[in-house]
């Protein structure tokens, strides 16, 4: 009497050599021998390891929470973009008074120019004569 497991294994034992060959092939092509592992890891490998660690430890266990946060941020971004799309009238409303002010200012300057006479050129002072000089005047001494 045999168990089903024994029968199944005996029935397929002939495949063992092919499975051995297959195993060796996979090991050679997809794994690294132990002595090769002794080499110092390159920067790229280190970065990959860090990302892998972060992914497995932080993100993957709580992927629903992260997905929720991403959805929330996308919602905020969409709302922000939508708000920006509805805002273009605001800057033009602000620009209109500025144009009015400029125009009024120009008008005031024009009126001011019309009202005020043109400025006289500054009068040139004639050089003082020697007689005008205090030092050249005759000094009258007062008697005590």
């Amino acid at each position: 009497m045999k168990t089903p497991r024994e029968i199944l294994f005996e029935h397929h034992r002939h495949a063992t050599p092919r499975l051995d060959a297959l195993r060796r092939e996979v090991l050679a092509a997809h794994t690294v021998p132990a002595n090769a592992n002794a080499l110092p890891p390159t920067r790229l490998v280190l970065i990959q390891q860090v990302f892998s660690k972060v992914w497995l430890e932080l993100i993957w266990p709580s992927r629903r929470a992260w997905a929720g946060l991403v959805a929330l941020w996308l919602g905020i971004l969409a709302a922000n973009l939508q708000l920006k799309a509805t805002l273009p009238s605001a800057p033009t409303a602000r620009a209109a008074p500025a144009a009015d002010v400029v125009q009024a200012f120009a008008e005031q300057r024009r009126v001011l120019a019309e009202l005020l006479p043109p400025l006289k050129p500054p009068t040139t002072q004639t050089p003082r004569s020697a007689a005008d000089r205090r030092s050249q005047r005759p000094v009258a001494f007062k008697c005590c």
Partner: protein, 182 residues
């Protein structure tokens, strides 16, 4: 004969670290059980070898995704099972309709060795096994080959535990019935 209880823990952490020798140990341990399982599902030698090879390659590539080392065996069979399902889909779709679905039995036969087969019935057993529907065969093989628990089989086949219990119960009953008729 394969001893189910592992004396030494499998070198899964070493394999995860990229140790080739550890992978060799793991592959040696599982190559024949995986092949038996896959062959009995797809019934094609070359396709079975291809699936085992793909399973090994996927295991090496995705070992970092395995979070519980003690579940390595179930995880490996899960990879193979998904590949077998793809193969079934290619082959036939109507076989699933043959599946005998019933309520989960109240009591469940515990061990895989409760069914003992006489030498003269060995070939008949192998033939009868192939006559079961693929879902029933898958559950029965996982039970026979690796003595996986109901929960482990449910994880591997991505089914509910009730469904697994039901399939196993009806598969064993069908097998007994067929063996009794011989």
């Amino acid at each position: 004969m394969l001893v189910m209880a592992e004396c030494n823990p499998l070198p899964v952490p070493q394999a995860r670290a990229g140790d080739q020798a550890a992978w060799d140990v793991l592959f040696r341990r599982y190559q024949l059980p995986l092949y038996v399982y896959v062959f009995e599902l797809v019934r094609d030698e070359q396709a079975s070898l291809d699936i085992v090879q793909e399973t090994f390659i996927k295991a090496v590539r995705h070992i970092r995704g395995l979070r519980e080392d003690e579940k390595f065996g179930g995880w490996l069979f899960g990879i193979a099972h998904q590949r077998c399902i793809q193969s079934w889909r290619k082959q036939t779709r109507e076989e699933a309709a043959l599946e005998e679905v019933g309520a989960a039995p109240a009591e469940f036969e515990a061990g895989p060795d409760d069914l003992l087969i006489r030498r003269e019935h060995e070939e008949t057993f192998m033939r009868l096994l192939s006559r079961l529907s693929p879902p029933q065969r898958a559950v029965l093989l996982l039970h026979f080959v690796e003595d996986f628990s109901i929960e482990q089989i449910a994880e591997i086949t991505r089914s509910a535990t009730g469904t697994v219990k039901s399939r196993l119960h009806y598969a064993k009953r069908a097998l007994r019935k067929l063996l009794g008729e011989q």
